[in-house]
């Protein structure tokens, strides 16, 4: 079985802070990580490899520095890694990104494609289903449990108020949730292999068959026209009192606001 996992390198948004003076994002010193949902997708692929045997390829579209994320995936146990990078791919929205990734996937053999549900920097959850649409595949979003049964896959998928257990034929695309599993750590041997034995292949524009009008900034129907930080709400008062006084104060404030 051939499994391709799509991953994205993202800034760890839990570490992003706002500069209160300039009201802009402080990006310096923010670590880059494999997007958590994608990492869960990679772990799911590696578990399927452990259980059924599989060749796991990891692909990522990004800047050259995203190679680090692919090395980490190799060190976790992926067999092959491909970085899709070119200035022509830059500035892409979800539609243009999915078009590029779908074009790259056409170069590969796959029975199963796994993407994370969404990336923590954009939170759109769009690229997975859009890749599936471009490739004419079934997509099952929000997978919480995955089983393979011959040439079929059985996926438990999460909604707000229910689970669906779905069965479909391979090939298909699933999007993974962090709830799916707890990703393994890199092993020292794995890290050694990732840097000494295995290579990260680089694919540029010339390596993928795609209409240049449909990628990058030009191929993106959506445009960001403005970005801003939310003006901070005027802070209320902070009190450091004895517990009993605190409780009484809260009740008093609730009365003022007619809550009780």
């Amino acid at each position: 079985m051939n499994i391709v996992v799509c991953i994205k390198q993202v800034p760890d948004t839990t570490e992003v802070r706002i500069d209160p003076k300039t009201n802009t994002l402080i990006r310096e010193g923010v670590p880059s990580i494999i997007n958590p949902d994608d990492k869960a997708g990679l772990e799911a692929a590696l578990r399927l490899k452990d259980e059924y045997g599989a060749h796991v390829t990891v692909i990522s579209m990004g800047i050259p520095a995203a190679e680090v994320a692919l090395r980490e995936a190799l060190a976790m146990g992926a067999d092959e890694a491909i970085l899709i990078t070119d200035r022509a791919f830059g500035g892409a929205d979800t539609l243009a990104t999915s078009t590029t990734l779908a074009a790259a996937l056409k170069n590969l053999n796959y029975d199963l494609i796994i993407t994370g549900r969404q990336a923590i920097d954009g939170d759109t959850a769009q690229v997975g289903p859009q890749i599936a649409e471009h490739l004419g595949l079934v997509n099952i979003s929000y997978a919480e449990d995955i089983k393979i049964d011959g040439n079929e896959i059985i996926v438990k998928r999460q909604y707000e108020d229910r689970y669906h257990t779905l069965k479909t034929k391979l090939p298909c695309l699933i999007t993974a949730l962090t709830e799916l599993n707890k990703p393994r750590y890199m092993t020292p041997g794995g890290i050694f292999d990732a840097y000494r034995e295995k290579a990260v292949k680089i694919w540029n524009l010339k390596d993928v068959d795609v209409d240049q009008e449909s990628i990058g900034l030009k191929g993106s129907p959506t445009k960001v026209v403005k970005s801003f930080t939310k003006g901070a709400k005027a802070a209320g008062k902070v009190f450091a009192l004895e517990p009993q006084e605190s409780a009484e104060l809260i009740v008093e404030k609730m009365k003022e606001k007619f809550i009780i």
């Binding site: 539609l95 923590i120 959850a125 909604y159 069965k167 959506t222 104060l249």
Partner: protein, 344 residues
């Protein structure tokens, strides 16, 4: 693409168990405001089975028209039968805007439809407005505002050269229009034939998550616990406090990830957006992702040991203290108040 051919606003009216979801009514409310600026109409699109009465209710909720497709493959949500039908309706009718709820279903369906139409889609919007195109005089665009970078940044996005302009919108953010059963009923029953091969998944099982508690998006009072609760057993006191105030409990991502509280209780960027009358944050430091989900609450009380916790920056009343001391005393005080009001 001739943009001027595209007219009207469509709202995808999500249903589950043959009941239109609340977010659809919220979208109709917002769509009516936008329609005024565009001098156009609002059409709700309902895909389901045996839901004619619900289709009529969409008119009472403010839709000028409802397109209702009734088919057995549209009863329980499946990606492809829904995509097939909705894509067909949009391709035929050419609306300029299509809005979806940013729910599990909306966020699965909308990207699939957008890729089939090769048009733009903006996820998880919290603000929508009409603006004039900067380069093309007279052209009106939908300005879609959404949080990015885990809520650290807001971005306003337009789709200038494609139609329809599509967006998923966070539940709980937009206001419903006034409901009136005197609104005219205008329901078009859309005949849909879905080719058999479009049913490309088999639903083996549907397990409902039984909600014993009030939905946090609907609660007027939320008592929310975070990492500082130290364990699931300590939520009992938050439940008691919530009960006294006629509310329910919620949690930060840390508490949900630790498995103390179910996922449907999670407030924040990857959870739900809430705006109750009262939000009490207990042992929640206030990561920006959490604040994004609750800072619109009318009145916020935060109790936290750490005086530097960011939650205090949005709290109306901040208490620097030990939740395990303050909360039990607060419960006692509220019980006293209740007893007192009974006597009066």
């Amino acid at each position: 693409m001739n943009i001027s051919e595209y007219k009207g606003i469509f709202v995808f009216a999500e249903q589950r168990d043959r009941k239109v979801q609340k977010v659809a009514y919220e979208l109709i409310g917002k769509a009516k405001e936008l329609a005024k600026d565009l001098n156009t109409s609002v059409t709700a699109v309902l895909l389901g089975r045996g839901m004619k009465d619900e289709a009529e209710k969409l008119c009472y909720a403010g839709a000028d028209k409802v397109i209702y497709a009734d088919h057995e493959l549209l009863d329980e949500y499946m990606t492809e039968p829904y995509t097939y039908t909705l894509h067909k309706i949009i391709a035929e009718r050419k609306p300029e805007i299509v809005l979806y709820g940013a729910t599990a279903i909306g966020r699965d369906l909308a990207p699939r439809v957008s890729a089939r139409l090769k048009t733009g889609l903006t996820a998880d919007c919290t603000g929508l407005a009409i603006t004039e195109d900067e380069t093309n005089e007279g052209q009106l665009n939908l300005a879609m505002t959404r949080p990015a970078f885990g809520g650290n940044l807001m971005a306003t996005i337009i789709i200038g050269k494609h139609r329809p302009q599509m967006a998923t919108v966070r539940p709980g953010v937009m206001q419903r229009a006034k409901y009136s059963d005197r609104n005219p009923v205008n329901v078009e029953e859309y005949k849909t034939e879905i080719p058999a091969d479009r049913k490309n998944v088999e639903i083996l099982d549907v397990t409902k998550i039984i909600q014993q508690r009030m939905n946090i998006e609907e609660a007027k009072v939320l008592v929310s616990g975070g990492r500082g609760m130290h364990g699931p057993e300590n939520y009992a006191m938050l439940e008691e406090l919530a009960d006294l105030l006629g509310g329910t409990i919620s949690a930060s991502r840390a508490a949900v990830d630790a498995g103390w509280v179910p996922k449907d209780r999670q407030v924040g960027q990857t959870g739900k957006t809430v705006r109750p009358n009262l939000y009490i944050a207990c042992g929640i430091s206030g990561a920006i992702q959490h604040l994004a989900g609750m800072e619109e609450s009318d009145f916020i009380i935060a109790i936290n040991k750490d005086e530097t916790a960011p939650i205090f920056e949005v709290a109306d009343v901040g208490i620097v203290g030990d939740i395990f001391k303050v909360v039990p005393l607060l419960i006692e005080e509220l019980k006293k108040e209740k007893a007192l009001s009974k006597v009066q």
